[in-house]
């Protein structure tokens, strides 16, 4: 709780124009004019967007990982998001046309920590969880790191891996649950081999909680640091509501830690992934 005056110190709230909205497989790639917000966005940060318009019954913002931030461009700063039209809020967002304005708060949360010296890194993404990894890959590559990437999804079309994003990676492995592309199976099955073959020293991951848990387990087995970007239901996104917590080890205790402020990027080894332990402790 110390250093909290620094909380989200570059977050602002703006009305951002939709600059582009393109369907890419099952996702929407969207670009927003965010002016000076772009300059303070780091890989792993997210934004929180109001959905539903003026008379909406949806009262809470939706969080989206920043796929890419461009602090200068013809229209000033912009950010790009990859949005899966899942439920009411994201479907509304995907239906916004170029020229319309949405209310965005950001950048929020922690960003991926980058090794001070070059290192062999593995980036693991599930579904739209790959979004923040491409900007990270660029940063890592510029630092001289080796970057291997593995992306998985239930089926081929759900792997988000745009051409330009792949430029920064040394290798890209794909896995699908249904075998429609790449390796047939879960993403976690592909990781041990990649760790060994590429002498991985740091793992970064983003995707569904089940996948993050599996990756964490492997990282602990190999004793490799693992930074994961988690996704918990968030009501406020700015640290005031305490809904977005994950259970973190704190001596022998469980500490429920806000993923919007102390996350979304967190140390995978510290999170208690086993739900039963948490339920037994908190709801005996």
């Amino acid at each position: 709780m110390s250093g909290s005056q620094k909380i989200n110190r570059s977050a602002i709230q703006i009305q951002a124009e939709v600059l582009s909205n393109k369907k890419v497989g099952p996702y929407h790639h969207m670009v927003f004019a965010v002016d000076k917000m772009a300059a303070s966005c780091k890989p792993g940060n997210f934004v929180a967007i109001s959905v539903g318009g003026g008379q909406s019954s949806l009262i809470l913002r939706r969080a989206f990982a920043i796929y890419r931030a461009n602090d200068k461009g013809p229209m000033g700063g912009s950010i790009e998001l990859v949005v899966a039209p899942h439920g009411q809020g994201s479907q509304w967002l995907c239906a916004q046309n170029v020229g319309e304005f949405v209310d965005i708060v950001g950048p929020l949360g922690t960003s991926f920590g980058v090794p001070s010296s070059n290192a062999n890194t593995l980036l693991v993404g599930g579904g739209y969880g790959s979004a923040p990894l491409f900007a990270l890959a660029e940063v890592l590559k510029n630092r001289g790191c080796r970057v291997d990437m593995v992306l998985g999804a239930s089926t081929a079309s759900k792997i988000y891996a745009p051409l330009e994003g792949k430029r920064s990676v040394s290798s890209l492995t794909l896995t699908t649950d249904d075998g429609s592309t790449g390796i047939h199976g879960q993403i976690s099955e592909a990781i041990p081999r990649l760790i060994r073959e590429n002498s991985i020293e740091v793992i970064y991951s983003c995707g569904p909680m089940g996948m993050l848990a599996a990756v964490s387990k492997i990282a602990i087995e190999f004793d490799i640091p693992h930074q994961c970007a988690v996704e918990e239901a968030m009501a406020c996104g700015v640290g005031v509501c305490m809904t977005c917590v994950v259970p973190v080890k704190d001596d022998d205790q469980i500490k429920m830690t806000r993923t919007c402020i102390d996350g979304p990027v967190m140390d995978g080894a510290k999170i208690i992934w086993d739900r039963k332990i948490v339920m037994d402790a908190l709801h005996p």
């Binding site: 709780m1 909290s4 989200n8 509501c241 809904t243």
Partner: protein, 310 residues
């Protein structure tokens, strides 16, 4: 342009304006200070604090509902000692007016909390949360029965000394909220906070189980505003002298004005902050404009105005 006396009073304390944060919806103020100067709202009401550190409930802790949300935090917090050491100094250093919300599992715990607060200077009032629905046992909601409500308030009164105004926060989930209000007014509260969340539940139709780990949660947001306005109106009607901090779904100046007309001396902004981190500041500005438009020069003339005339 005519000018507005926007100040309000609870017990002996004056606040520069009547817009407060709602307990549990602004943490201890620091996070929101990124979005507006925390000293410009009437008061920060802190998240209810307990005697010991508390983990709270498992996740999911929230579910969005039509024009509302359920939360089931379970009073997670660092405990009163860490709170007094870390949070209060920051708030006072940032010139915020502070109302400390306290919660206990037993009557004695409220007494302990009051005693600890007594020693702290710079606090403007204590809000006694006897109405949190996120407890394992509904029997623990002291505000459900006059006897238990009174026991808590008396314990706080005894321990806090005569100084600090005491605000009792009541639950709408009762058969007769006027009766509960009456009971705590009888033992000398300086104000009432109306309303805490309504007990609710969402079932996830995919998993076919309750969506929240704690099963039930507290319903807040615009959905409950008519219930809050009704509660404020009823209680102000019965006890026009008792200041009420109104809350429940206030998202804009019009909503705040509605609560004031019903009888609120101050208005807390809770869930609206989640949708809009600057909500409290914007509501303050909108309310002040509305009051002037309606010809009020003194905020206090508007309190309970809906009860007057025909």
């Amino acid at each position: 342009m005519s000018s507005l006396d926007f100040s309000t009073k609870i017990g002996s304390r004056r606040f520069s304006n009547p817009i407060f944060t709602a307990s549990g919806c602004a943490s201890s103020g620091q996070e929101l200070s990124q979005f507006f100067p925390i000293s410009e709202i009437g008061a920060v009401v802190t998240k209810s604090i307990m005697t010991k550190p508390r983990t709270g409930r498992a996740t999911p802790r929230m579910a969005e509902t039509p024009s509302g949300m359920l939360n089931s935090i379970g009073l997670q917090g660092p405990g009163i000692d860490a709170f007094l050491e870390n949070d209060i100094p920051w708030l006072l250093a940032n010139s915020a007016k502070v109302i400390v919300s306290i919660a206990g599992e037993t009557v004695d715990e409220y007494g302990v909390l009051a005693r600890k607060l007594r020693a702290v200077s710079g606090v403007s009032a204590v809000e006694v949360n006897i109405s949190c629905p996120n407890v394992e046992n509904r029997g623990q909601v002291f505000a459900c029965h006059p006897e238990s409500a009174v026991a808590v308030i008396e314990s706080v009164r005894r321990n806090i000394g005569g100084e600090l105004p005491i605000v009792a926060k009541l639950s709408p989930d009762v058969t007769n909220i006027v009766e509960i209000a009456q009971s705590v007014i009888n033992v000398g509260v300086d104000g009432l906070a109306l309303i805490n969340t309504l007990l609710g539940m969402v079932i996830d139709t995919n998993t076919m189980k309750p969506k929240l780990a704690g099963k039930t949660g507290g319903l807040s947001g615009p959905a409950i505003r008519p219930v809050a306005v009704r509660a404020i109106y009823q209680v102000h009607q019965a006890f026009p002298q008792t200041p009420i901090v109104g809350m429940g779904g206030v998202s804009n100046g019009r909503d705040a004005f509605e609560m004031v007309l019903a009888g609120a001396s101050a208005v807390s902004v809770g869930t609206a902050t989640f949708g809009n981190p600057s909500a409290a500041m914007q509501i303050k500005d909108e309310l002040s404009n509305l009051l002037l438009e309606k010809g009020f020069n003194d905020f206090r003339d508007a309190i309970g105005f809906a009860h007057r005339g025909v």
